[in-house]
Symmetry: C2
Subunit: 297 residues, 2 copies
């Protein structure tokens, strides 16, 4: 049982401590959030026992979880490491890892920090979006494990195990590169699809009339929080620019096939894209398991 | 009760006659499909009573439903009108309407035809994908209703009512223009996202490890049938090219913000895209109703 501080009381931080409390990992939970309303809601919802300013929350914590936008993590992480006791363990949940790791690479307490990316979420945000089981059977990527102490990795392992997550390890740059293609690009694609359709279809009634479940699925991520995503895109700009350039180039090639009436090439492109079925079957399988199995400590 | 012929035994045609039989609209159902395996499967699944060649199937039909790729509809529709009796009604389900309507605009039996687009589907295809309730509470767009007889519109109305659909009317060109943005563009965006990620991530293990439910949702339509979609894109190329050019231009603008490190503009773009929430709430509401209410005739 650990006295826990959670910085950021949104979907990720809130869902995490809900599960940790249920699993008996935490003895007490104090929350920190710049948004006073979120703090009040988190207390009212029983997500945290109390809220406090950062310094006070850290003074007594054995475990610190950071779940705020990645630019804020990068900025505040050195201060958090300054303030914690020599036995406190800090885990972040940022979707980019290179700049966050760089911000503390030569910090004397670097080995008390575990750089993690839990691959889970919904398009909703804030403490009211938090729920038990969000992380069940999802992947958690730990970056630069060699820079964390064995004790830090062991405690992080217990935390992720309590959340029901599968852990894998990656270098921070590798992580950021792959996640640009597999996660960040799909968010950009969805945000811009939403914006394009809203821009063109002045009369929203047409969207409502003609949109089916396919449109809803493709544009779902356009509901995501700009507060969270703008810093992710900025921090991962180098890899995301490359991913986006590739995507635009594929779209332009498709556009040229349309212009040239090359229906066979349209067909071949889609046939290639169909190969994604194999990957999606795997993801659906993960989701299914996650829905049917109870949380195991 | 009508003797019914259904041309095309896939997801749309199969699901349609399953509901029509259940609602007591059909007395017998004969199927036509170029794919012999699909014909056999449809009989085995009880979707149709028998299969027959086109001419034989039409010889006795009072109601004809056409649910094949749009280029095949355009090609075969004049022949079907040639072959039917003076009282038979023909309804198609093509996702584009201008070229199909044009193919029969001066046909003497044009008024026995109702040009329809049921906005429903899944990313799966073939007779095994057919299911009861696919169309419940979904929209059906009838194009050029002035060119169909009152009797044809009445019968089509009964059919769509039995499917639980809401009907609205549009000119064919208007329909094709709006549907390019709201449906066809999201399919292109998803197909090309799938292809881009597969192209870049040589090792599919990375996709599997890093992909969450967000990626799965955005790329879901990339599983759709190229046989069905290549002809749709070709027929709607004029409008789709414009929609795709707009989408590419929005993506390029976003790319420039990334290059220039204009994080405020990234933020503003996403904030605008968030407006899609209102539209999605409406679509989810439709879906919810569709899942909780029994089929009413």
């Amino acid at each position: 049982m650990m006295r826990t501080a959670v910085i950021g009381l949104g979907l990720i931080g809130g869902s995490m401590v809900k599960d940790l409390r249920k699993a008996g990992i935490t003895s007490s939970i104090v929350g920190v959030d710049a948004n006073e309303e979120h703090g009040k809601a988190a207390v009212a919802l029983g997500i945290v026992d109390s809220v406090a300013p950062l310094e006070k929350a850290l003074s007594n914590a054995e475990l610190v979880i950071i779940a705020i936008p990645v630019n804020a993590i990068q900025k505040i992480l050195p201060t958090i490491l300054d303030l914690i006791s020599p036995t406190t363990i800090v885990i972040d949940g940022g979707s980019t890892k290179a700049q966050i790791c760089k911000a503390v690479e030569s910090h004397p307490k670097r080995n008390q920090f575990v750089a993690a990316h839990p691959i889970a979420g919904t398009e909703n945000s804030g403490p009211t979006a938090a729920f038990n089981g969000l992380f069940k059977n999802k992947m958690n990527i730990i970056c630069e494990p060699g820079k964390s102490s064995e004790r830090a990795l062991t405690i992080a392992g217990e935390v992720f195990n309590a959340l029901g997550m599968n852990v894998t390890f990656m270098e921070a740059e590798e992580h950021d590169k792959h996640v640009a293609y597999v996660s960040h690009l799909s968010h950009v694609s969805s945000f811009l699809l939403g914006q394009t359709v809203l821009d063109i279809e002045g009369d929203e009634k047409n969207i409502f009339t003609l949109a089916g479940s396919g449109f809803a699925s493709t544009v779902r991520l356009a509901k995501s929080s700009p507060e969270m995503w703008a810093p992710i895109f900025q921090q991962n700009a180098r890899h995301l620019k490359k991913a986006l350039a590739e995507y635009i180039s594929h779209l332009q090639k498709f556009q040229q096939y349309l212009i040239d009436d090359e229906v066979d090439k349209l067909y071949d492109t889609m046939k290639q894209a169909n190969e994604i079925k194999r990957v999606l079957q795997g993801i659906e399988l993960k989701d299914q398991i996650s829905k049917t199995e109870p949380i195991v400590k």
